[in-house]
Subunit: 200 residues, 2 copies
């Protein structure tokens, strides 16, 4: 017979919803919380419920936000910027924010075009993006979608949309990553780096 | 500025309490739940609160239980068994249950002797174990503590306790694990296997 009580079984089952967590890890997590850190377990439970219930999307850029507008869209210095960066996810947006390089506004697709998975322009809020382009005030759209097949397709679709609205459009440079060793780079990265080489 | 809302920050912070989860993994978990599976996030939140609040310890064997007595201790066929297996944690107990080899009762220490960490006999409920030994009905105590330095020390302490109560005591066999390759085994395992060799 199983030595697990129903509540414990439910907890282990629920932990398996986390990415990268299988049955063994879920069991270890449950036991660790129960044995050593019930307070942290309670805190995590409350944080999950509060976040799932309280976090919506920014009405302007679609990133996660508890307010109708996110912090960046509320910032007058940024929300008037002529630069608009389009990213695939809130995590990508955060990675860019952490570089401190960009001080314009964002638009978060929350996915990338993938017709086979039923993700089309409507799911990515592209009508909303189009309204923002039509409203004017944007000089350049920087496409920062992932350098993958889906990301490229999304970027291509978006570039056509921008051109229709006569807005300049650019894409993040592709090439060799900082600190990478040429020896271990894949062929596509190397060919992108070659074809995109810059004169010094 | 950070692109994270307070609720999101709290959630990421709380997820880091899980074993093996650092800041990057916590962020990925939070975004994945928010983007794709809010229902699972809610379920996990509720399961955590229910488990942290509702799961206590079995009064008899100390394993996790929602009832005063766990399923095994409630089972008359098992709770009258003359065999008592002492394990370090509920996870160990479950691993033994899954073999289907043992049909006696358990006593779960919920730790191992470690005076430097302030874990002495009282923390492991050894007075409770002693009461059970004194109450009689137990012919043999099987020590299934971990084959580590702390586990060995705990087993040594427990064996003296059992001898004082004139109860036979045994320890899990140590040797080469099934499917292991001798070439890659550590020296202590091999020497244990040699000194514990069996005549065929």
């Amino acid at each position: 017979m199983s030595a697990q009580t129903p509540l414990l079984q439910q907890l282990i089952e629920a932990l398996k919803a986390l990415p990268g967590v299988g049955p063994k890890t879920a069991q270890r997590m449950a036991f660790q919380l129960l044995e050593r850190n019930r307070e942290a377990g309670n805190k995590l439970g409350k944080a999950l419920l509060a976040a799932m219930d309280g976090i919506g999307h920014c009405q302007s850029c679609r990133t996660f936000s508890e307010q109708p507008l996110c912090g960046i869209c509320q910032d007058p210095a940024r929300s008037q910027s002529p630069l608009l960066c389009v990213v695939g996810s809130s995590a990508d947006m955060q990675a860019i924010e952490q570089t401190g390089q960009f001080d314009g506004r964002y638009f978060v697709l929350m996915g990338q075009l993938s017709p086979l998975d039923g993700i089309g322009p409507a799911e990515l809020g592209l009508d909303q993006l189009e309204q923002r382009l039509a409203a004017g005030g944007i000089d350049e759209v920087i496409l920062a979608t992932n350098p993958t097949v889906e990301g490229d397709a999304t970027a291509y679709y978006l570039s056509e949309l921008c051109q229709r609205h006569h807005v300049a459009v650019s894409r993040l440079a592709q090439g060799v990553p900082f600190g990478g060793e040429l020896e271990y780079l894949d062929g596509s990265t190397l060919s992108h780096a070659f074809s995109g080489r810059k004169r010094l």
